[in-house]
């Protein structure tokens, strides 16, 4: 019991998030759903406190890659803290978007924040556990909250359809993943990744007896992750859900939820195949998983980009673009080396700035034109330069053109790919950038090349300001990447992988 209580400070951010969640629920009840903005402000304030706790945790952990294990299933390390900070950062922006969404009701939307925080709590556990059961619980918490969020506009047919599709796909892939986990448990008798990697009943031993069940189990679990980060062929839900869900929710799915999927996937593969002390044969097996990921990466980015070429809806296009970007991140994962993994995490950080900005742009113009059609943007470029010029920055960053963080991110992935035997994949990625330029520039073209049209623009200073700020960061981190790089390196090294 005393051990239990001593461990509690290690999960202070999780506890704080839980308290915040309950507070949001109670305050919303007390307000009787009248002024939901207050709930929003409470959420933002609470997230700031959690962010502060996480920063404290980050520095407490120290640069040496210290690691604490609490309750036998949660690992407190800089890797997890990185993803938690990422989550808090994206939740804050998404909550801000909800508050600033002019098409959203002002009252009775307290659950919005509650669900977002619930999803956040799911992510917190997902990215820091080495226990498959807790991983599954975190994933389900995230998923359930996301289903409800996707269908938040109950009256809107598209929103309801999005939620329905999401539930069906999500339920299916959760089932697949759970089946994979049950196979792993059946073979090794444990649900702890560390015990699976070494130990007498290790996966390596099972692998020597018969490789097929191991392969089946691993592939099934990977399928669950692939669904979360929308990797081909588990991407079918993405465009419909992204299009139908309210824009702030889409933003959360594209940024927060995707990064969480990658965080959990990195820890899963790291702990199972690459961690210090793992069996040599299982490490070799990891390299083969890398090959599988590389093929998935190539297919995912190519399909995502090709499909995006034909979209007329901005949100659908960004959905396919987010699929393509999942492919880019996989390039880093596939290397199965720490430099590649840091590159993948760096790219996620880059993705944070440019994609949040791009969705902010969508939110802004949806309130102006009432649609997310690219054609509806025609001639509006000069009307809101504080939003459209940043959008150009996000677009070139998404394409991977300097001087933006998207370029440095892609460059690091590229180098990592070439260095670790995936030169062909790096070239596929480079060619994909050229393809993606075409559809990203369609937005710029619609905004600026068409004849300017007269249209009243509602004043949205805070939203425009936050979009512009994200653009500034996109450029700054494109020219000065050292801090970001230090953070992701510290994150990867705290996983204590056996690789260089």
């Amino acid at each position: 019991m005393s051990n239990y209580i001593e461990s509690l400070p290690s999960i202070a951010p999780e506890l704080a998030l839980t308290v915040l969640l309950c507070a949001v629920l109670v305050v919303d009840l007390l307000l009787k759903g009248r002024d939901s903005r207050k709930v929003g402000y409470l959420t933002l304030g609470g997230l700031a406190v959690i962010g502060w706790l996480l920063v404290g945790q980050w520095s407490d952990l120290g640069a040496t890659g210290a690691q604490k294990r609490v309750f036998g299933m949660i690992e407190i390390d800089r890797f997890g803290t990185f993803f938690k900070l990422f989550t808090v950062g994206s939740l804050a922006i998404v909550a801000l978007f909800v508050l600033l969404d002019r098409r959203e009701r002002r009252h009775g939307i307290g659950e919005y924040f509650l669900l977002l925080l619930g999803a956040g709590l799911g992510i917190f556990f997902m990215v820091s556990t080495s226990n498959l059961l807790l991983l599954m619980l975190g994933l389900e918490l995230l998923s359930l909250a996301s289903y409800a969020l996707a269908g938040f506009h109950k009256g809107d047919k598209r929103s309801a359809e999005a939620a329905m599709k999401y539930v069906v796909f999500g339920g299916l892939s959760a089932g697949i993943m759970l089946y994979g986990i049950s196979l792993l448990y059946g073979m090794t008798g444990t649900i702890d990744l560390a015990a699976m990697a070494s130990g007498p009943n290790s996966l390596a031993a099972q692998f020597q007896i018969s490789p097929v069940p191991v392969a089946v189990a691993i592939v099934l679990v990977l399928a669950g992750f692939a669904y979360k980060v929308s990797v081909v062929p588990f991407h079918f839900w993405t465009p419909d859900v992204y299009e139908g869900a309210p824009t702030p929710v889409t933003t959360f799915l594209a940024v927060g939820s995707k990064a969480a999927g990658f965080g959990a996937l990195l820890r899963f593969t790291g702990k199972l195949f690459l961690v210090d002390g793992a069996d040599a044969s299982i490490q070799q097996y990891g390299a083969r998983i890398g090959m599988l990921l590389a093929i998935l990466a190539a297919v995912t980015m190519t399909l995502g980009n090709l499909a995006a070429l034909r979209q007329s809806s901005l949100k659908r296009m960004l959905a396919y673009s987010s699929i393509a970007h999942a492919g880019y991140v996989l390039v880093g994962l596939a290397t199965m080396e720490s430099s590649g993994w840091s590159a993948a995490m760096f790219y996620l950080a880059a993705y944070y700035f440019m994609n949040l900005g791009a969705f902010g742009f969508v939110l802004y113009f949806e309130s102006v034109t009432g649609s997310d059609d690219i054609a509806s943007l025609r001639g509006l470029g000069a009307k809101a330069l504080w939003v459209t010029v940043p959008m150009v920055v996000f677009l070139i960053s998404l394409t991977g053109i300097p001087p933006t963080v998207g370029f440095t991110g892609k460059y690091l992935l590229f180098i990592a790919g070439v260095e670790h035997g995936y030169a062909w994949l790096a070239v596929v990625m480079a060619l994909n950038s050229v393809v993606s330029l075409f559809y990203y520039l369609r937005i710029a073209k619609a905004l600026f090349f068409a004849e300017p049209v007269e249209r009243a623009m509602p004043k949205q200073t805070t939203l425009a300001g936050s979009i512009a700020a994200l653009a500034v960061f996109t450029v700054i981190f494109g020219l000065y990447i050292t801090p970001l790089q230090e953070w992701v390196k510290a994150g990867v090294s705290s996983l204590r992988l056996s690789i260089g």
Partner: protein
């Protein structure tokens, strides 16, 4: 100031752009004034650098600034200038300075226009002064976006198509470049272009000079690096068969942007080959020099032949650029002192003569609002000043003796004829066809536009305004001065070019 002069020249336009963004968009007078100052100051500094500070006898880079930039990937802020880049930097500052008054006729979103123009200048000068390949690549890409918008917003009717085609072509080329840059970096551990050149010329083929040991550039590796970089730059030049973006971009771009495109942006391709491609992979270059020579000759003849068939004035001039830039490739491929010097001169001289030609087209287009060569006639009667300047410009472009184009074309051809590889003599003979065709299309165009009976529609046209004359005269003067005193360029280039030829022709 003196030791940082390159950074000043590069970033003054950026400061100008920042200032412009703070000016209300209705105050167009102030915006134009700022643009003039922000392009004029670099011109003054570049002139000072050219005639005052630069040491002609030094072959290597001067005014070097080397700072750590992104330590973890080894990128540096590493700039410097030598005889090869000096003239082009000066030409850039001049062209951009002239481009500002040449743009006074544009009245659509002027604030954005001048801001983008200044950003473009930053990118161009940045490429010319970069000695770090990462920095070079960043500047190279920074150029694309302003150019895309300048064509796409202020261009002609098919501007959207032309702008995206320009961007996609160039990006495809730069992606190939990036692949090669990364490969070079991983093999050698450095982005420094002088260091990579040194490695190559020190015969690092056996890998003896590498920090980590091992073979650096096997011939197979060199060859594909060479082609990736070459195609990246050849798209920019453009060399046949990568030229198809050029006519569209040129025709749709507004006049001042065409001037910059032909005058400077094409030179970036040629300069890139000389600075950042051939010296890094000299063996692959020598092995493929003849192929490059052939591509050069095809560009010369084919460009001129297609120009002959154009009815659109601007399209004709655009194809003439393909033809003229072919000499650069031929001269370089010959690998002689004379050919190389001719190629470097030709880059500069085409910068001035192409600028004149596009300005000439702009003058008549602003009045007639069409560019159909067959739709004019007898213009010389109403616009005598225009006729005089155009004639001068055409003669400069077709390489009449006393004009700069004559010197540089003659030098490239003579240089190519002297090449060790005697097959180049055949290429020289074939390229003579191009000279005849160039004379033919220019003189025929002159006849159709200026001579014959005056079309009644045009009888009220006013002659060139003072502003229009002011834009053309500096370039025409340069054509004449450098035609008579080519040493004003060659003296500055000599030592750098000797070094370059030495690097390239050294046997492995």
């Amino acid at each position: 100031m003196q030791e940082h002069i390159l950074s000043w020249i590069t970033f003054l336009p950026l400061a100008g752009m920042a200032l412009i963004l703070c000016v209300p968009k209705t105050n167009t007078g102030l915006i134009k004034a700022i643009s003039l100052v922000a392009t004029g100051l670099p011109l003054v500094l570049a002139t000072w650098l050219y005639f005052g500070l630069f040491q002609k006898s030094v072959a290597g880079p001067q005014f070097v600034q080397q700072l750590d930039w992104i330590h973890s990937i080894g990128a540096q802020y590493y700039v410097g200038i030598d005889g090869l880049s000096l003239a082009l930097v000066w030409l850039t500052t001049l062209l951009l300075f002239i481009a500002v008054p040449a743009s006074f006729g544009i009245d659509k979103s002027q604030k954005a226009y001048y801001a983008l123009l200044l950003l473009l200048e930053v990118g161009i000068i940045g490429v010319f002064v970069s000695l770090d390949y990462f920095l070079f690549y960043v500047y190279w890409e920074v150029m694309l976006l302003p150019m895309y918008f300048l064509i796409g917003i202020w261009g002609g009717p098919r501007r959207e198509y032309a702008a995206i085609k320009f961007f996609l072509y160039t990006l495809a080329g730069s992606v190939l470049m990036l692949v090669a840059i990364v490969a070079l970096r991983l093999q050698s551990g450095s982005f420094s272009i002088p260091y990579l050149t040194e490695l190559a010329s020190a015969g690092a083929m056996d890998g003896s000079k590498l920090p980590g040991g091992g073979a650096l550039l096997g011939m197979g590796f060199q060859t594909w690096i060479f082609w990736f970089l070459f195609i990246g730059f050849a798209i920019k030049v453009p060399v046949f068969p990568f030229h198809t973006w050029l006519p569209d971009a040129h025709v749709q771009a507004p006049t001042p942007i065409s001037v910059i495109l032909a005058g400077i942006l094409l030179k970036l391709g040629g300069y890139g080959m000389l600075r950042a491609c051939f010296p890094l992979v000299p063996d692959a270059f020598r092995a493929n020099a003849y192929v490059l020579g052939i591509l050069g000759v095809i560009s010369i003849v084919y460009g001129a032949y297609v120009a002959l068939g154009q009815t659109d004035f601007k399209r004709m001039v655009a194809y003439s650029s393909v033809s003229h830039m072919g000499y650069v490739l031929l001269g370089v491929a010959a690998l002689t002192d004379m050919g190389m010097k001719g190629a470097a001169l030709q880059m500069f001289n085409h910068g001035t003569s192409a600028a004149v030609l596009f300005l000439v087209v702009g003058v008549i287009y602003d009045r007639a609002h069409h560019r159909d060569l067959n739709g004019f006639g007898g213009i010389s009667q109403v616009m005598p000043k225009y006729w005089a300047l155009t004639t001068w410009g055409f003669f400069a472009a077709l390489g009449l003796p006393t004009q700069a184009g004559f010197v540089s074309e003659a030098m490239t051809l003579m240089g190519a004829y002297q090449a060790q590889d005697t097959r180049f003599q055949v290429l020289v003979v074939i390229s003579l066809i191009g000279i005849v065709l160039t004379a033919a299309f220019l003189l025929w165009a002159m006849q159709r536009v200026f001579l014959g009976t005056l079309n009644a529609k045009y009888k009220d046209y006013g002659d060139m305004s003072g502003r229009e004359v002011f834009c053309q005269v500096p370039f025409l003067a340069l054509c004449l001065i450098l035609g008579i005193f080519p040493f004003l360029l060659t003296d500055w280039m000599d030592s750098s070019i000797k070094l370059l030829v030495g690097t390239l022709s050294k046997a492995a």
